[in-house]
Structure formats: structure tokens, C-alpha cells
């Protein structure tokens, strides 16, 4: 039987590919036969990710997606895409009473504005192939409240609502749009605003006894990028180790 999960013959762009979930997804996509294009700000870490990719034909393009000129440069160089995974994002821990305009910008620019603008530019320049699959990395934080998480949660909720509308607009061309909502995953972002000790105690409370790893999320991304999920769009899939609420720390 043909493997419905294969990504052979697909060209996939991964944003935020220099670390964490983005790097994990890039590695997994290459492992499943895709030609992967990596993008992020940090060239050295992009080269590290590139080095980890199985197979040939992969490449990277440095870009700060919050900058219009960087996005333009990226989009110009891209081939036609069969898949796009938007992983680039930042974490923020600020109590509501301390939120200033700069805090909002610092989170909403990379987490909401940049992916929306990149998506629009990719569509205008006709870089998304028919029947392509688009995946956004959101978070369970969009619906699970934790004190101090307001900006991050709100940014991910915005991304999810955006993606659902996008899925309707692209459905006529059989382009699918889905979100992945992970609970806590071990990445650099997890360490923002918490000590290692607190995180270790927190992960023990998950029914599956640990936080996620980038490869856990990557396997779900492979499913959403592959033809196995051909009848799936506008969905938001939670992947949580059984911890259906983010646990207060």
C-alpha cells in the first residue's frame, strides 16, 4: 500500500525553523521525503537545522518576517509551495496591569501580523500550489487561561480565528488550512518566565508525565501536510499529553 503520510515530491516552507518546534518539523518533513525551505532570522542556527535534514535539495532563506523588505525578499525567491508551516513566534509573560503598547507590539507583530502578511503576500505572488496544505502552530493557551499569559493567549486565539477564515477562502482551490494547538513543549520559549525547577514539577502533572517534544508536534504536522488529511481543513488539533488545561504554576 502507498504510504498516505509521505511528503515525497512536496516542497514545504517552514518558518521559525532555526529552533524548537520549527526545527523539529523541518527535520521530520525532510525525513518524510519533502524538499524543505527553512526560514528564520538567525543564519547560523538555520545552517544547523539544514545540517540536520535528511536528503538533498533543501535550502534556507534568512528573514525577519516582521520586516516588509525581508518578507518581500523571501517571497520573491520561493518556488511554488505544496506546504507551509508557520512556526515563528514569541512567548510573553506580562501581568495585565503592566501591559504597555510596546508589549502588545512585541507579541502581536511576530505572532499575528507577520504570519497574516506573509500569507497574503504568498497568495498575491501565487506561490501556493493547488491542493497545498497550510499549518499554523497556535497553542492550547488560546483557550486555556494562565495568569500572566494574556498577550500570548490572545495572539494565538487571533491566529486561530484568522486561520479558520483563511480555510474558507482557500477551499475552492482545495488548499487546506489547519492549526496545531500544543500544550507545553520543551523549547526555549518554555523557559520564558519560569524556572527549570517549576517546569519539571509542572510536567509531572501531565497525564502522560511529560511535556511534549518538538518531534511529537512534528508528527502531527506531517499528517496535516500529507495527503492523509485530504478531507481536513479549518480544524484546530490539540496535542497535549492529556493535559487539557495548561497547568497553573
Amino acid at each position: 500500500m502507498d504510504n498516505p503520510f509521505t511528503l515525497a515530491g512536496k516542497t514545504i516552507l517552514v518558518t521559525g525553523a532555526s529552533s524548537g518546534i520549527g526545527r523539529g518539523i523541518a527535520v521530520a518533513c525532510a525525513g518524510m521525503g519533502a524538499k524543505v525551505i527553512l526560514t528564520a532570522r538567525n543564519e547560523i542556527r538555520l545552517q544547523e537545522t539544514l545540517f540536520l535534514l535528511e536528503g538533498d535539495g533543501h535550502s534556507y532563506i534568512c528573514a525577519d518576517l516582521t520586516k516588509a523588505e525581508d518578507r518581500q525578499h523571501l517571497v520573491e525567491q520561493l518556488p511554488l509551495l505544496d506546504g507551509l508551516v508557520q512556526c515563528a513566534g514569541v512567548m510573553s509573560r506580562v501581568p495585565c496591569k503592566a501591559i504597555g503598547a510596546e508589549d502588545i507590539q512585541q507579541v502581536f507583530q511576530p505572532n499575528v501580523e507577520a504570519p497574516m502578511l506573509l500569507q497574503a503576500e504568498l497568495l498575491q505572488e501565487k506561490k501556493i500550489a493547488k491542493s497545498a496544505s497550510i499549518v499554523y502552530i497556535a497553542s492550547i493557551a488560546a483557550r486555556s487561561a494562565v495568569a500572566g499569559n494574556a498577550l500570548y493567549s490572545a495572539s494565538k486565539a487571533a491566529l486561530i480565528s484568522y486561520a479558520k477564515c483563511l480555510s474558507l477562502e482557500l477551499a475552492p482551490r482545495m488548499i487546506r488550512v489547519n492549526c496545531i494547538c500544543p500544550a507545553m513543549v520543551w523549547t526555549d520559549l518554555a523557559l520564558v518566565g519560569a524556572t527549570q525547577e517549576e517546569l519539571d514539577a509542572d510536567q509531572a502533572k501531565y497525564p502522560l508525565k511529560r511535556y511534549g517534544r518538538p518531534e511529537d508536534i512534528a508528527n502531527l504536522a506531517i499528517y496535516l501536510l500529507s495527503n492523509a488529511s485530504a478531507w481536513m481543513t479549518g480544524s484546530c488539533v490539540e496535542i497535549t499529553g492529556g493535559g487539557n488545561e495548561l497547568i497553573h504554576r
Partner: protein, 74 residues
Amino acid sequence: MEEFIKNFANQWDETEPEVFTPECAFHELEEWSSLTGLAILNMVAKKYGVKIAPMELKNCVTIADLYNLIQSKQ
């Protein structure tokens, strides 16, 4: 130091301002919570341009300890 204590005290809602002296062991105050900690880290970043890790804040016993940590990073 005086100004720092004022900024520090501003992050609390229930504790009387007189409590905040350089020797105050702030983790032991009834109002202390991780959210207060976040508010303090945020204030330090914005007003003093210094990034402090949650672990470093945990290791500060008194307000003076935190003040000295900020000084050492400026």
C-alpha cells in the same frame, strides 16, 4: 535605592508600603505569588533595562539583594 523600593512597592496591591525596606524578605510576604514575581521582572526590564531570570529572582532573599543584582547587571 529609595526610588527602586518605590517602584518595587508599586507592584503590590495589598501590602502596606512601610513593609518594603531593603531588608524585607519579600518572598515571605502574604501577598507574594508568582504573578507578583512576573510584575517585578517586568518592572525591572522596563525601568532599568535589565533582564532577570525567574531563577535569579528566586535566589534574592531581600529587596537589597535584588537591587544589588540589578546594579551588577547595569
